[in-house]
């Protein structure tokens, strides 16, 4: 951990740290993982965001820390859509228990909204959106229902 980073955000006791997010993308990452800052109700999670922090690895980066929550791999992997360099650490009792780079899965469920207004997933149906990754570089997704292709994910976050 660098001195600079320790100044910007204090270490957390329990929770999830998402580091090495491309500079300026922290808020979109929060949207992808569905964090609105009201999680856990009264006395719930504290969410810290640092933007435009110097990074030895990627020049400038953003960091997100969510206290007292261990985010599901499904949501964390969806971060790879916009921040493929991001790393995720699960912290328990101030120790890093798990650290890994986000990995784009074969399917993205529930994170994006299908851009096709006529898609059945945009109707009042008991169904989550579902996208298959049909191309990885650059990433292109295809709706598992209507087959609409999506490559501008930021515009289609659910």
């Amino acid at each position: 951990m660098t001195a600079v980073r320790e100044l910007k955000l204090t270490p957390i006791r329990n929770g999830t740290v998402i580091d090495h997010i491309g500079s300026g993308l922290a808020l979109e990452v929060l949207r992808i993982i569905g964090i609105e800052g009201r999680e856990g109700g009264e006395g719930g999670s504290t969410v810290s965001v640092a933007m435009h922090v110097p990074s030895q690895k990627i020049g400038w980066k953003d960091i997100v820390k969510v206290e007292n929550m261990e985010l599901s791999p499904r949501k964390l992997n969806a971060i790879a859509l916009i921040a493929p360099t991001a790393t995720v650490s699960i912290i328990r009792e101030q120790r890093v228990r798990e650290k890994r780079i986000v990995a784009l899965p074969d399917r993205i469920d529930g994170v994006l909204k299908c851009p096709n207004p006529s898609c059945i997933t945009n109707q009042p149906e008991p169904v989550e959106s579902e996208f298959e990754v049909i191309q990885r570089a650059p990433v292109v997704l295809r709706c598992a229902f209507c087959e609409r292709r999506v490559d501008d994910f930021l515009h289609h976050l659910a």
Binding site: N116, S118, C119, I120, T121, Q123, P124, E125, P126, V127, C143, A144, F145, C146, E147, R148, R149
Partner: protein
Amino acid sequence: MALKGRDLLAIRDLTREEIEEVLAASRRMLPYARGQKVGAQLDGRVLTLAFFEPSTRTRLSFETAMARLGGRSVTIADSSSTSLRKGESLYDTIRVISQYGDAIVLRHPNEGAARLAARASDRPIINAGDGAGEHPTQTLIDLAAIREAYGKLTGLTVTLLGDLKYGRTVHSLARALALFGATLVLSSPPSLRLPAPVREDLDRAGIRIEEVPNVPEAVRRADVLYVTRIQRERFGDDAEYAQVAGSYRVDPPLLEGVGPKMIVLHPLPRTGEISPEVDASPHAAYFRQAFLGVPVRMALLNLILAGRSS
């Protein structure tokens, strides 16, 4: 037969061999479809037709197909009379009615509806059109018409003329033809060219594609001329529609000098793309194509419901 109990949601759910199996079975259905033989293959079976969007011929041909094989069909033909009107989801509707009959034929205005229905149902779902999405039985009918005229599907040049952008039948047909190694000639107004993702799929499938905007030349090249309707509802203003709609019309002079076996197909209904004078031409095969809707759907129902191909 591998189709028994299966869904048919998109034409790519079928392999080349399975398509050939359906087409072969549909030829064996011809005497039954014409009423020369009385079928009882599906005696005691019940087909549920759930049509949440108007369609006359697709619905009638499914009902006829079922009846010709001795089965029965029950039909929701007007979504305003269903509980969807009361706010019930398609998922719940299908979950309930799938328990009644042996299979469901679904027509729905939203893309992906058939796939959702397939998750709600443990009985086979046959997609009879989901919005601008798939309509696989239409593609099987198109292929049956070509197969009937030429005795094969390989090595043919198929010219797709008209609205290649929105015409879903064209996209499905092109993908299916790619399985058989046809050559595609594309001829459309510039604003209605084949969408890039469809084109990329076809290129990946290794099919030969040529774009020939000149209509007479595209027609001369064809073994099969597949004409589509320009969908008026897709255009914002009438002037734009009129300009595109008038840009091609199949009439007797256009068909002068084509090969003797060349056939003209159209998924119907036509608006002005094929002049009525063409109907008397030996090349006109679109009414025959429409008739094939019955034997093809008979074959499909027989395979899916009973696992039989005759």
